[in-house]
Symmetry: C2
Subunit: 347 residues, 2 copies
């Protein structure tokens, strides 16, 4: 497999991304190749100085101007044709590599993907997927690629999500829920009521029906179908809430060490203390998004994975490995078959 | 003030509601009256047996069939004309009382309010408001009354929210944010982009601009404008997440008492332990929705407040007191002025 890494993406950029690639390289096959796209000299120097023992093949493709996390997609399309995102996705569009990962600007990666890689025939709009890191870890899609959905978009997201979960999680017939405002079939906005009918009428989909906002935590379904407006707001709400919980827990726990640590140190209770801190830490890690390796852009004609701009090296490594895993599972080929079939059924 | 209580609403029903009314009665004025609507005998008996010293005036209005938390609005409109919700809102519609509180089925209360009380002239659709119990406690609206918004609805929610916050929180010029998917003016769905323009063009509104899902936790604005679909999903997501955090914290803390309590009990550290538990409890209470006294139905021609079906007596009391507070502040009268003005400006 040939995997393209946008070496310039993210808040920190090249140093974190190269460190992540190095971690990933140790878990890739000898036959795999990483294609670094970015500042040629910097990449070369880092590989020479820090990662001389890089264990697999690599190639370096030079790019010019970088894209920041704040650049708008429209502006970037006009002014950043020479960026690492654009050049990396060129390689995917030309089928010269199997997968692409960028810990970068989601909107810009989406825009260049639509330009350079395109959609799978029959897919009206792509969806940004995300594995919700709680409970049975459902796939939620869309998270922002399609903020103005039509019922047909939501229906297609159910089809796309199903293929993704078959490959990524080996779930043969994943259960699909439509995120709405009440469990009854007739609940929701007009668009969601129509989407409900479309999904229900497709007997190839294992459809649970409507689910509600609380069902992110109830293990009811494997796939949560929503639109890019609602999905994006929920994801950001969840991130905000996790930060808030962390901050508040830290404040809540602060009096504890101050008042007790010294005293406990002289008591036999010290044995239990690390156990307690370990539990709290485990809980916070579970609620953290840092460890999850990227959001797949689904329905496009290639494997494109986008990581958080705040990705650390471990998250970058995880993104690279997931990109390879999706490509190995032949997601794009499977989706082509599904949409060819449904197109010919409509004829 | 005359305050109507739906004595039959909620998961538990009459016993919790009467207990709540008793708590509230001690903080109401001697000149206030509570109008209990529900099972006449049961209300009478409870007042005789448990609350003989009820300190203020009350009236009892009999109703027949109850409404459960699962009944659909359409069904209830056809089959529950004799319910406590319907009869209580009759009183408000006839202007024979100043405010109504029900810890009941939100959809049914909304349906009967539209039938019996109606909208304020000029208000296209009502909004269900809610005080988000974190940070600077912003008002969020709508939470489910208007799941299919037009841009004009969202604009009106900004106007309505402003009057509510002026009265309830004494904020002279509350800052309004439009919940969308990116801070730039041009971000969001087509409907939200148009709503952005409408709000921005009204110079009477102190408009922050777009905010994102994470801004529920950042103290940026006093009012968060959203639609009933998105708002409802977020509220339920937040409730689900809080339960999940509580459950996980309990599990995380479980090893702690087991391993340590006995040992610490024999050490001087015991002094700090209650302090620590108190902090954790304070954090959980802050994140709990139980203590907040109801969601106002805004834009209707009367004061209608809806509590959570799981309200405890304290929450019912808080709902009754808030209903009176909103009526005392003349919210409906103020909104009528605002919408008369904006209607005549359009002529």
């Amino acid at each position: 497999m040939r995997i393209v890494l946008d070496a310039m993406g993210g808040d920190v950029g090249i140093s974190v991304n190269m460190a992540g690639a190095y971690i990933a390289s140790k878990r890739l096959e000898k036959s795999d190749t990483i294609i670094f796209v970015g500042d040629k000299d910097k990449i070369y120097n880092l590989l020479k100085q820090k990662y001389e023992d890089f264990p697999i093949k690599y190639e370096i493709v030079g790019s010019e101007n970088d894209i920041s996390m704040d650049d708008s997609p429209t502006w970037a399309l006009l002014n950043r044709e020479d960026s690492s995102v654009s050049k990396g996705l060129d390689i995917i569009g030309k089928k010269e590599a199997d997968a692409f990962f960028s810990p970068g600007n989601t909107g810009v990666v989406l825009a260049f993907t639509l330009k350079k890689v395109g959609r799978i025939k029959g897919v009206i709009r792509p969806a940004l997927g995300f594995t919700f890191p709680i409970g049975k870890h459902p796939l939620i899609l869309d998270l922002g690629a399609t903020p103005d959905p039509k019922p047909e978009n939501l229906y297609q997201f159910a089809l796309i999500g199903k293929e993704y979960m078959k490959i990524m999680r080996n779930i043969k017939d994943p259960l699909v829920g439509l995120l709405s405002i009440g469990e009854e079939d007739s609940k929701g906005s007009v668009i969601y009521q129509k989407a409900f009918e479309l999904i229900q009428n497709d007997k190839s989909i294992n459809f649970y029906g409507n689910i509600e906002g609380g069902d992110f935590f109830t293990d009811k379904v494997d796939i949560i179908v929503t639109d890019g407006f609602t999905g994006n707001i929920i994801l950001k709400f969840a991130e905000g809430m996790i930060h808030w919980v962390k901050d508040n827990l830290k404040n809540s726990l602060r009096p504890f060490p101050l008042a007790l640590t010294g005293l406990i140190l002289s008591s036999p209770g010290i044995l239990g203390l690390p156990f307690f801190y370990f539990s709290i830490k485990k809980f916070l890690r579970k609620a953290s998004y840092d460890e999850y390796g990227g959001a797949p852009l689904l329905g496009v004609n290639g494997v494109v994975l986008i990581g958080h701009g705040k990705s650390n090296p471990k998250a970058v490594a995880s993104g690279i490995l997931n990109a390879k895993y999706i490509a190995s599972g032949k997601l794009v080929e499977n989706l082509k078959e599904v949409f060819e079939r449904s197109n010919s059924e409509e004829d």
